[in-house]
Amino acid sequence: MAIKGGIDARPNPVGTIIGAAAIALFFSFPYLLMFLSSLKTREEITRIPPDYFPVTPQFSNYLTVWSSSVAPGSSLLATIVISLGATLLVLLIATPAAYYVARFRFPGRMVFLFLVLITQMLQPTVLAVGLYQQFSGWRGYLVWVALILINGAFNLSFAVWIMQSFFASIPKEIDEAALIDGLGRLQTMFRVSLPLVWPGIVTAIVFVFVNTWNEFAAAFILVQDNALQPLTVSMPRFLGMYIRDWQYLFTVAVVAIVPVIILFSLIEKRLIGGLTAGAVK
C-alpha cells in the first residue's frame, strides 16, 4: 500500500492560514472592540446606530479618564495594592514550605499536600458568605488587608505546588555540598536553591498576581466603600451608573487588562508545559 506524506502532512496551506486568521480574530475581537471603543469621543460612542471605528482616535481619553466621572484612580490603586500584597505574602509563606516538602519526607507530608490541593480547587466564591461573616468588620483600608489574606490563602496552594516541583528537580547533592560548606538550611535555600528555581518562582508570582488582579467574588461581597473597591468590582458599578461615558469604561478595561496580559505572556512556555495542577482561574 502506498504511503503518502507523513503524519505531519498538511494538504492545504491556504486552509491553515485561513484557520489561523479566524482563530486569531475570534480570540481578539472583544479586546479589539475594547481598544477601539476606548479611543472614541463620547458623541461617537453614544451614536445610534454606532460607528465601527473612531474618526480621530482620542488617545487623550487615557489622560482625561482619571478626572472624569468614572475616576478609576482609587480602584486601580486598590487593585495594585491588593495584588502586590497577596503576591508578596504568598512568596514569603509558600517558598519555605515548597522547599521543605520537596526536600524532606516527614510524618503528615501527604496530608499537608492533600490539604494544599483541596484549598487550591476551592474558591472564594463558594465560601463568600463565610468570608463575609469573618471579615465584614474590617473597615477602611483593613478591607484591603482582608483581601490580601483571602487571595493569598487561595493562591498559596498553587505556588507551593509549582515551586515544590521545581525544587524537587534540583539534585540534592548541590544542597548537601552547601550544607557541608557550613551554610544553614535557610541560607542554603536562599543562596543555593532559589537562584536555580527562578522560572518556578516567576511562574508562581505571575499566577498569584494575575489571579488576585482579576478576583471578583470576595472583593464584591466584602468592599462596600466605593472608594476602596478594586477595578473588578467598580467596573460593574460604572456599567450601571455612567452608561453615557462608555468610552471611559473601555479605557479603564484596557488599563485593567494590559498589565496582566504582558505578565501572562511572559510565562506562556510554562502554560504549554501544563499547569493543570494549578491553573484555576
Binding site: 500500500m1 504511503i3 503524519i7 505531519d8 498538511r10 484557520g19 489561523a20 482563530i23 480570540f27 472583544p30 475594547m34 446606530p49 521543605y100 516538602v101 524532606f104 519526607r105 516527614f106 510524618p107 503528615g108 501527604m110 490539604l115 494544599v116 490541593l117 483541596i118 480547587m121 476551592l122 474558591q123 466564591t125 463558594v126 465560601l127 458568605v129 463565610g130 465584614s136 498559596l156 496552594s157 507551593v160 521545581f166 528537580s169 539534585p171 522560572p199 482579576n214 467574588a217 464584591f220 461581597i221 477595578l231 473588578t232 460593574p236 456599567l239 462608555w246 469604561l249 485593567a256 487588562i257 496582566v260 504549554i272 508545559g273 501544563g274 493543570t276 491553573a279 484555576v280 482561574k281
Partner: protein, 316 residues
C-alpha cells in the same frame, strides 16, 4: 504532563537519577510549613466552619444573630430551598445546563483548537499568544465588552448582526433573562477555552511520535490514529481540564451577573448567583444554607479529581 517543560530540562541535566526526599521529624518541619498551615486554617477552614454555623442561626434584617434557626434557613418558610418566589425547578435546570453545556462545548472546541495549534506553521507562536487573551484578562472586563456590544442602541455587536443580515433589528440580548443566559453560556465557553486548549496541547505533546509513525506505516488513517492512539493518550489531560472546568464554571459569578440585567429571583439564576442574591435580600443565614450545597458539590468534584487525576502521584 503536569510538569512544566523547564523541570524536565533541568532534570535531564542532572547526571544522577533523583533520589527520594530524606526523612525528617514533624518538629523540624513545623517552622517551614506552619505559616502555610496558619493561612489555610485562618482564611479557608475557619470561614468554612463559620459558614456552617451561620447556616443554622437566625439573623435579623441588620445581620445581627438572634439564636438558633434549626433547619429554617434550609427548608423553612423563608428557607434557601423553599423560598416561595424562587423557581427551584428552573434554578436546578439552569445550574445543570450551565455546567454541562459550557464544560462539554469547551472541551470539544478545545480538542479541535489544540490539534490545530499542535501543527507547525508560520505564526503559530503568535497565535498561541493571542489565544491567551481571554485567560489573562479579567472575566469582568471581557464580560463588560459583551454587555456593551449587545446593547440595543449603542451596541456594536448588534449593529454587526443587523449589517450582516443575521438579525432584522437590534435585539436586547441582556434585557431578556433567557437570551442573557445563553449569551453568558457563550462568554463562559469563550473564557474557558484558553486554559482547556493549553492543557490538551500539553497532552498532545506527550504523544510519542514514533507510535504515530508506526501506525501510519501500518496503514492507519488520520482519523483512526486520532481515535485509537491520540484520544486514549489524552485521557489524563482531558480528565484534569474537565474537572477543573466543572469547578470553575460552577463557581462562576461575574458572567451571569453582568450579562443579566433583570433583577429578581426568576431570572436565570444558578445556585452560585443565587447565593449572592440571597445574601443581599434574605441575609447571611439563608445564603450560607445554600452555600453548603455548593460546598459539598465542590468537595465531590475535588474528590473525583484527586481520585482520577492523582496529582499527588509525582511527589511520592
Amino acid at each position: 504532563m503536569t510538569r512544566p517543560s523547564a523541570v524536565t530540562a533541568l532534570r535531564s541535566d542532572s547526571a544522577r537519577p533523583r533520589k527520594r526526599p530524606r526523612r525528617s521529624g514533624v518538629l523540624t518541619a513545623l517552622p517551614w510549613v506552619t505559616p502555610t498551615l496558619l493561612l489555610i486554617a485562618g482564611v479557608v477552614i475557619y470561614p468554612t466552619i463559620l459558614m456552617f454555623w451561620t447556616a443554622f442561626r437566625k439573623y435579623n434584617s441588620y445581620g445581627i444573630e438572634q439564636g438558633s434557626a434549626g433547619l429554617n434557613n434550609f427548608i423553612g418558610p423563608a428557607g434557601a430551598f423553599t423560598f416561595p418566589t424562587v423557581p427551584w425547578a428552573s434554578v436546578w435546570t439552569n445550574t445543570v445546563v450551565w455546567v454541562v453545556v459550557v464544560v462539554l462545548l469547551t472541551l470539544l472546541l478545545s480538542l479541535g483548537l489544540a490539534q490545530f495549534l499542535n501543527k507547525d506553521f508560520p505564526g503559530r507562536k503568535a497565535l498561541r499568544l493571542i489565544i491567551i487573551l481571554p485567560w489573562a484578562s479579567s472575566v469582568v472586563m471581557t464580560t463588560t465588552v459583551f454587555n456593551y456590544g449587545l446593547q440595543t442602541d449603542v451596541g456594536l455587536f448588534n449593529r454587526l448582526l443587523v449589517d450582516t443580515g443575521i438579525l432584522q433589528t437590534a435585539y436586547g440580548f441582556t434585557k431578556d433573562p433567557t437570551s442573557a443566559f445563553w449569551v453568558a453560556v457563550f462568554v463562559a465557553i469563550y473564557v474557558s477555552l484558553p486554559f482547556t486548549t493549553y492543557t490538551i496541547l500539553a497532552g498532545l505533546q506527550s504523544v510519542p511520535r514514533d507510535v504515530l509513525e508506526a501506525a501510519h506505516v501500518d496503514g492507519a488513517g488520520a482519523a483512526q490514529r486520532y481515535w485509537q492512539i491520540v484520544l486514549p493518550l489524552l485521557r489524563p489531560a482531558i480528565a484534569a481540564a474537565t474537572l477543573i472546568n466543572i469547578i470553575n464554571v460552577f463557581n462562576s459569578l461575574p458572567i451571569l451577573k453582568i450579562l443579566n440585567e433583570t433583577p429578581g429571583f426568576n431570572t436565570g439564576h444558578t445556585t452560585t448567583t443565587l447565593i449572592f442574591a440571597y445574601k443581599s435580600t434574605l441575609g447571611p443565614g439563608v445564603a450560607s444554607a445554600l452555600s453548603i450545597f455548593n460546598f459539598f458539590f465542590c468537595l465531590v468534584i475535588i474528590a473525583v479529581y484527586l481520585g482520577i487525576v492523582k496529582p499527588t502521584k509525582e511527589v511520592q
